[in-house]
Each structure stands twice: as C-alpha cells, then as structure tokens.
C-alpha cells in the first residue's frame, strides 16, 4: 500500500475526512429511513415517534 509511505498525520487526516463524510451520510440515511420515508409499513411502525419528534407526518 502506498499509503504506508505517507506520514502518519497525512494518513489520519485523509482517511479521517472520508470516515467523517461516511458516518454523516450513514446517519442521514438512518434519519431519512426511520423518520421520513412514507412507505406504509415504515410509517405505521414509526408513527408515534415521528409525531413525538416533530417530523412532518401523514
């Protein structure tokens, strides 16, 4: 791996930024599916939480 030749700091910041973006995207995906997708089954299962959390519902 060529990454091993880079300095530790460079490796950390480069892989770090990718990780930060990845985890944020994953989090947004979870919020979207659990809180906003209107598919009937999901909506019914999450109905009370969506109301209590202030998400637009129905």
């Amino acid at each position: 791996m060529t990454a091993k030749t880079a300095t530790a700091a460079q490796t950390t910041s480069a892989s770090g930024l990718v990780s930060v973006i990845a985890i944020a995207a994953l989090g947004l995906g979870v919020i979207f599916v659990a809180g906003h997708v209107q598919a009937a089954t999901l909506h019914d299962a999450a109905h009370d939480v969506r109301h209590a959390t202030g998400f637009p519902c129905h």
Binding site: A8, T12, S13, S15, G16, V18, S19, V20, I21, A22, I23, A24, L26, G27, L28, G29, V30, I31, A34, G35, H36, Q38, A45, A46, H47, D48, V49, H51, A52, T53, G54, F55, P56, C57, H58
Partner: protein, 246 residues
C-alpha cells in the same frame, strides 16, 4: 468462536471510533428519550387519536366532553416499535453529531461531555426549535399541508439552521454571524406549507400540550445526546492518542 478484541481503540480506524461513539451515545440517549416520550408524550397522542378517529367530538352545542378520558395503556408491540425507532433516529443524529464534532476538533475545538452540552443545545435548535417555530410538532388529526412539501421545508430549515449554528459557533467575523441570522430567519420569512382550511377535530388544548411536550422532550434529548456524544468521542480519542504516543 470468540476472538480477543484489539487491545486498544488506536488500532481501530477512525470510522470505527466514530461509529462506536455514535452508537453508544445514540442508544443511551434514545432509550431514555423513548421512555420519557412514552410517559409524557404518548398519552397526549392517544388522547388526540380519540378525536382523530371520531370517538370523541368536542364541538357542538352540548360540548361537555371529559378532558380526562380512559386511554389505552401500554401496548407491547406499538410502544416497543416506538422504543426501537427512537433509538434508531437518535443513533442517526449521533452519527451526524459525532462527525461534526470530530471535524471541529481538527480545527481546535475541545470536545468532551461538558462542551457536548452546548452542541446538544445547538442541535436542538437546528432540528426541533427551528422547524417547530413555523411547523409546530403536530398531534395526529390536525389539518396540515401535503406531507412531501412539508418534508422539503423541514429538511431545508434544519439544514439552514444547522449551518447557522456552526457559523455562530465558529465564525470570527460579522459576515459569518450576519449570514447565520439570514439563514435562521429565511425559512420563516418565506413560510412553510400551510393547510388551506382548518379541519382538525382535535381540541386546541391537546395540540398545544403536545407541541410543548414534544419540544421539551426534544431539548432533554439533545442535551443528553450532545453530552453522551462528547463523552464517548473524547474517550475514544483519548484512548487512541495514548497508544500513538506510547
């Protein structure tokens, strides 16, 4: 098959540390919030559903409906699903929060449980107070505009408020703070999708209590989420730092 885990989190990549912190914070805060919601918000919601379904009607000349009707009790499936989804949603929020915290940390911000409290309050403003200022948390059975249009407005408002919170925290000049004010005001000046007529059968007393409770629990949720996220992230970073210097 049991394999001994790595001796130190330092051997874990950044992604794993972010995910670990977020899941711990999200699960812990989510579980507490789910219980608070079941106790304080769910009865108000169930009360509203009696009006939504037409079992209770409060308008008319003989409007002497009891304000304290018999409500359905704990429902294992329905409330169990609520607990699972609350933990999921707050884990999702925690992932975004920890990602932003680690980004701020690389720019010199101190991240720990104590500063996490402020992150939590900012998060509450971004995802609860800002959208709720115009689209109040709605109880079942109220009149509302098309759900898709409200979702678009909701996401736009949360995004602009989150950027505004970041600018207020990390800007060092008036241009940044001015932009934050514009971003905070714009969605409300433009206005949210509103229903064309009011048809909601739910008493205003129930709707008002629901909105207050939802916002109050939202603040408690985010203060906890921020503190937990700050705590777990700083613990993971500390462990990683110690091994690097060792």
């Amino acid at each position: 098959m049991f394999v001994t885990p790595p001796a130190s989190p330092a051997t874990e990549p950044v992604f794993t540390r972010l995910l670990t912190s977020a899941l711990f914070a999200g699960a812990a805060a989510g579980l507490i919030i789910a219980l608070l919601q079941l106790f304080f918000v769910q009865p108000v919601l169930l009360h509203a559903e009696l009006y939504e379904g037409g079992e209770l009607v409060h308008f008319g000349s003989d409007s002497n409906v009891t304000a304290t009707p018999e409500l359905p009790g704990f429902d294992a499936v329905r409330d169990g699903l609520s607990i699972v989804f609350t933990m999921l949603i707050y884990s999702g929020y925690a992932m975004v929060l920890v990602a932003l915290m680690s980004l701020a940390e690389t720019r010199g911000a101190a991240i720990n449980a104590r500063t996490g409290l402020i992150w939590g309050v900012a998060g509450f403003v971004a995802v609860h107070l800002a959208p709720g200022f115009t689209l109040a948390p709605e109880v079942p059975g109220v009149a509302a505009a098309d759900v898709y249009e409200r979702q678009v407005w909701w996401f736009a408002t949360v995004l602009t408020a989150a950027i505004a919170m970041w600018l207020i925290a990390f800007s060092r000049n008036w241009a940044g703070w001015g932009a934050a004010v514009v971003l905070l005001l714009a969605p409300h000046v433009i206005g949210a999708p509103e229903p064309e007529v009011f048809t909601g059968p739910v008493p205003t007393e129930i709707g008002a209590l629901f909105a207050s409770r939802a916002l109050g629990i939202g603040l408690a949720a985010w203060v906890m989420l921020g503190a937990f996220a700050g705590f777990f992230w700083s613990r993971e970073s500390e462990a990683a730092g110690q091994t690097q210097t060792a």
